[in-house]
């Protein structure tokens, strides 16, 4: 049962005819966590805004919970939860005031759906009389999530919910999303963090308005075509320079404390080590790398 269906969606902005979303199609199952992964400006927010009925598509169609985003926008607005990329709560209202305002706005009360937000709300409850603007980044996101959830939506749209949030809060945030998934709420989210991609059921890698690949994170990693090596040496900068000039190079780029490297033909690690040591690099170490979503993404970007 598809909860969100997007087919051949296109969105063009302004007089310069900038194509923000280019013939995008995907579908999200009920109770699934679906991630749109891509850099800033890839078109993630535009897709969200079309799905939340805030923007009209220029081509193609989309539906949420079986309702068309253009024709049935009023009904869709009753059934979805949306958390925009920018922190979108009232900074001068307290935590409690924000929550009860959004509850009333959606025609419900905090008490009615407290069960749903309980896990999250207990964490911010100690600060309920504090103004939203004075909360930390992580707290703000938790409050925003509470506000988006308070009317028990069928589909939840989270636009970069963890941007600017510390690693601990991010981890907690994801644990909450897992719990919401158990409640059969469909979650569509976007992120620029590659490590969060692994936590989604399925992901779509998106670049310049086009979807490069849609699959489960595991399958995307599995379908990586090359053997990838992690190379390390004392001088990282020099290492990258030399890797670039290596005749058998297919690709190379910095990846944390290592450089990731793949060969054009059959891998010859000994040859690579000799080459690097001849060019003045010390403590050269080569091992097979664990392929990550980021590697797949870099590969897809070509």
């Amino acid at each position: 049962m598809h909860s969100v269906i997007v087919s051949h969606l296109t969105k063009i902005y302004g007089k310069e005819k900038k194509v923000a979303v280019d013939d995008v199609s995907f579908s999200v199952d009920k109770g699934e966590i679906f991630g749109l992964i891509g850099a800033d400006g890839a078109g993630k927010t535009t897709i969200f805004r079309v799905l939340t009925t805030l923007l009209l598509p220029d081509g193609g169609s989309a539906s949420v919970g079986g309702l068309d985003v253009v024709k049935d926008f009023e009904q869709i607005r009753q059934t979805i939860g949306y958390m925009p990329g920018k922190f979108s709560l009232y900074q001068d209202l307290t935590v409690e005031e924000n929550l009860s305002f959004f509850a009333t706005l959606f025609g419900t009360t905090v008490a009615e759906n407290y069960e749903l937000i309980k896990d999250i709300y207990v964490q911010i409850a100690p600060f309920k009389n504090r103004r939203a603007g004075k909360l930390s980044g992580g707290m703000k996101q938790k409050l925003a999530l509470c506000c988006a959830l308070i009317h028990k939506p069928n589909v939840l749209f989270l636009d970069e919910p963890t941007t600017g949030v510390d690693p601990v809060s991010r981890k907690e945030f994801w644990e909450m999303l897992k719990r919401l998934k158990e409640q059969d709420i469909t979650i569509l989210l976007s992120t620029t963090y590659m490590d969060e991609a692994n936590l989604c059921d399925r992901i779509a890698l998106i670049q310049e308005g086009k979807i490069l690949s849609i699959d489960t994170p595991a399958n995307i990693i599995k379908s990586y075509p090359d053997v990838l090596f992690a190379v390390k040496a004392t001088n990282m900068h020099q290492l990258l320079q030399q890797l670039l000039r290596y005749p058998e190079r297919l690709s190379s780029y910095a990846f944390g404390e290592f450089a990731h490297f793949s060969f054009k033909g059959t891998p010859d690690t000994d040859g690579l080590v000799t080459y690097l040591e001849q060019h003045g690099l010390k403590e050269v170490m080569v091992k097979t790398a664990d392929i990550t979503i980021e590697d797949s993404f870099i590969k897809l970007l070509g």
Partner: protein, 368 residues
């Protein structure tokens, strides 16, 4: 309805928690009234003048005593020569000179007419006009008095009564002016900014993606400012009655009715601006330049509209503040009833409906 009330409550919280907004809302009207009332007045007090009395007779002395008694003038010294007089004007020591010719009383008694030379420093034309008016009225007063006792009437000049403002107070003109100015600022700018703020902060996105009707968002935003503006009107009226001693001659109820009408006009203007702009700065700039300036220039508050070139006179008709200013003056100062201002009221209602229609039509239920 519950949604609407909760929204209105939220708006009040926004206003009450923002000190800057609070200051603009309630500080500005008070400050403006006081500044206009005491500092920027057209009244001329204690102006230094010179009297050259070449006659030194009963009549001239009588007039000089009257001038001395008036609080408008400070008689500096008795200069004699015209050269000294010129020098005193040049340095700005004196604002006006009154010269009595020799044989002033004689001429008055025998020929029934006499002349006084009044020279004013017209580099500041407003002050000069005011001063000469004061002197003329003092002289006329004396003349009238003389005519009562004398058998032969002296030459009677047309009496110029200072209609509606016999003491030449500045307040009657500027209180209605400040009222239209403050309401314009508070309603237009505040409403526009508060709606655009939601757009800028991204909260509009959530409001739109909610079952709450977008048009209700706008109405809920405008309502608190309507109430706050009514408080402003009350403040200004209290100040003008109790601090500036300017009584409200006409019906207070009518005054409030017309004020609420003007507030609604301003609110729709604010909504219109907010629909058309996306940033608080733009909204503020448009409100200030587009609304405040025309209000100052074309309401007749600072500059008489009759003196303007015809195109500007025509333009002044679409400035809502002009009509409100006229009505407030009619009610507050002249004490006229509704039958005298129904035309202005109708025009203002027309402007309001027009603005409301176009802002509702151009209100977006989506982001773009």
């Amino acid at each position: 309805m519950k949604q609407f009330l909760s929204f209105v409550r939220k708006e009040f919280l926004h206003v009450l928690r923002d000190r800057k907004t609070l200051f603009i809302l309630f500080g500005m009207p008070v400050v403006q009234i006081l500044i206009f009332g005491f500092a920027l007045t057209n009244e001329v007090k204690n102006s230094t003048i010179v009297v050259v009395d070449n006659a030194k007779d009963l009549s001239s002395q009588a007039i000089i005593t009257r001038i001395e008694a008036s609080r408008y003038f400070q008689i500096e010294k008795n200069l004699v020569g015209s050269k000294e007089l010129e020098a005193a004007f040049r340095t700005g020591e004196i604002k006006m000179a009154i010269v009595f010719p020799a044989g002033f009383a004689e001429s008055l008694q025998h020929q029934n007419t006499a002349q006084i030379q009044v020279i004013a420093d017209a580099s500041d034309p407003n002050t000069a006009t005011t001063l000469t008016n004061y002197v003329s009225s003092i002289i006329r007063d004396y003349q009238t008095e003389m005519n009562v006792t004398n058998q032969l009437p002296y030459r009677i000049q047309p009496e110029l009564r200072m209609l509606y403002n016999p003491q030449l107070k500045g307040a009657p003109n500027f209180v209605p002016g400040v009222m239209s100015l403050v309401l314009m600022l508070v309603c237009v700018m505040m409403t526009a900014i508060s709606i655009v703020k939601e757009k800028e902060n991204g909260t509009m996105e959530i409001l739109l993606v909610s079952p709450f009707k977008p048009i209700m968002v706008v109405l809920a935003k405008a309502l608190p400012y309507l109430l706050l503006s009514i408080i402003n009107v009350i403040t200004i009226l209290l100040l003008s009655v109790f601090v500036l001693d300017l009584p409200i001659v006409g019906s207070i109820l009518l005054l409030f009715g017309e004020s609420i009408l003007f507030i609604i006009t301003c609110l729709t203007l604010g909504i219109f601006i907010s629909v058309k702009t996306d940033s608080q700065q733009t909204a503020m700039l448009i409100s200030l330049v587009g609304m405040l300036l025309p209000t100052l220039l074309f309401s007749g508050f600072l500059f008489p509209i009759e003196n303007m070139p015809l195109p500007l006179q025509v333009f002044s008709n679409i400035v809502p503040a002009k009509w409100y200013y006229l009505m407030v003056k009619s009610i507050m100062i002249k004490g006229l009833g509704f039958s005298y201002i129904w035309k202005e009221t109708l025009i203002l209602v027309g402007i309001t409906l027009f603005l409301l229609l176009i802002s509702l039509k151009s209100f977006k239920i989506r982001l773009a």
